[in-house]
Symmetry: C2
Amino acid sequence: MENQGAGQGLHARVLETLGPAITAGEYPPGTILRTDELEERFEVSRTVIREAIRVLESMHLVASRRRVGVTVRPTEEWNVYDPRVIGWRLAGPDRPRQLRSLTVLRSAVEPVAAGLAARHASPAQCAELTEHAMGMVATSRGQQLDAYLVHDMAFHRVVLAASGNEMFARLGDVVAAVLTGRTHHHVMFTDPDPAAVTLHVQVAEAVRVGDADRAEALTREITAGAMAELDVLAP
Amino acid sequence: MENQGAGQGLHARVLETLGPAITAGEYPPGTILRTDELEERFEVSRTVIREAIRVLESMHLVASRRRVGVTVRPTEEWNVYDPRVIGWRLAGPDRPRQLRSLTVLRSAVEPVAAGLAARHASPAQCAELTEHAMGMVATSRGQQLDAYLVHDMAFHRVVLAASGNEMFARLGDVVAAVLTGRTHHHVMFTDPDPAAVTLHVQVAEAVRVGDADRAEALTREITAGAMAELDVLAP
DNA sequence: GCCCGCCTTTAAGTATGACTTTTACGTCAC
DNA sequence: GTGACGTAAAAGTCATACTTAAAGGCGGGC
C-alpha cells in the first residue's frame, strides 16, 4: 500500500490511531465515542478531533449524530475500497480475510485488464512489460525474492494501467499490497514458481502482439495460481 | 447511487458544491483554493471550510500544503472508488467516460461474482434471485421500465451479495447507478431486450442448482450485452 | 393506567480571535 | 551565479463562547 495518509498534521496522527483501531474491531459496531473524551485521550483540541472524525465519517467507518456521539458503523457499510481502509485492515487481525477478498477481486479484474491491455497498450508500455517480465526471469532463482517482487508489482501495475480503464488502473496499489503480503508471509526460502514466471513472459508477449484472448487466458492462469496459494497463505 | 453524503451539516453543503465542481473539471488540476477565500464565498466559518477540505483531501481530490493553499490533484490520483466521487462524476460532464469505466468494471466483476454466488448463495438468496428474475419477466413488456429497473437492480445486488465477497458486495451501488443511468438515458419507449431477460432467468436457475460455470458464462453474456449497448449510450 | 406532547439537558455543530508552524520566495552578501 | 538568511503568507492548532438538534424524562390529558 502506498504511503497515503501518513500525513503530518495532528489530525492525521489521530486518524492513524483511530482508523486501525476501528477496522481491527477494537471498537465494535455500535460503540459510541464522544469528542471531548477523544480530545482528552489524544491531548489535542476539539478542532483536530473533529477533522479526524470527519474523515472517518467520509470512509463510512463512523456516523456522527447530535446528542448521541460518534458511533462506529457496521462492517458492511465501510468504504472497503478506500486505500487507507484497505491498508489498515491488511495490517490488522482480519488480514487473512482481507487478503482473500482482494485476491478474488484480482482474479476478476486482472484477466479482463490484460485483455484490454492487449488492445490498448502503447509501445512504451509493451516495452516496460517485457522488461519487467525479463526482470522476473532474472531474479526468479537464488533467494532474490525482494528484487523479484519489485518486477512482479511493476508488471501488474503496467498491465492495469495499460488497460486504459481508470478504475482498473487504481487497483495497482491493491495488487501491489497483495503481492507484498504474499512475499513477506510466504516461505521466504522458496523461489517463485517457474510456471508463474513463464506465464508472465507469455502475457507480455501476448499483449505485445495484441492477442487479447490469449493475454486474458494466461492472466486467468496467473490469478488462478494466486487463488490456489491462498489456502496456504490465508487459512 | 445511494444518498450517501447529502448530510445536513454546513460542511456537507460546502462539500456538495466543491466536490461536483472539482470532479467536473471546473477547477483543473493545479488550481489553488485558499481557505479564507472559500470562507468568504460560502459565508461560513473557517471550521466548516477546513472540515470540507479535510474530506476532499481524504478522497485525494485535493492536497493541502502550508503557505501554498489547497491544490486540486490530477485526475489519476482521485479515489475513483469513493461512492461520492462516482456519484459526482456520473452527474457531471464526463458521465459517458465514467459510465464506460464502470461498465467495464462490471463486465469483469459480475461474472466471477455469479460463479461464486452459485457456490455460496443461501436458499433465501436463491429465492430472492428467482423472484426478481420473474419480476423482470413480468415487467419486461408494455412500458414498465421503472418497475423493470427495480427488479434488475435488486437482481444484480443479490448476486453480488451472494458471492460472499465483501468487495463485490460493495459494488451493488455502482451497478445500480449504471443500470439507472442506462434506463434514464435510453430510448424510453423500447422494452428491454427479451434475450437479456431470459439470461437473467437462466442465471437465477444456474445459481440455484449450483452450476458455477454456467452462472459465470451466462452473466458474461449479460455484461457483454451491456458493453454493446454502451456505444449507443455513451458515445 | 397509558399515551401524547412539551421541556430539559446533553453533545455535536458553528463562529471567532489569538497564536504557532511551516515554507515559498525575495534579498543580500559572497 | 550561488548560497544563506529573513520575511511574510497561509495552513494548522488552540481555547472559548454560543447555537442547534434531538434523546429521554416529566407532566398533563385521555
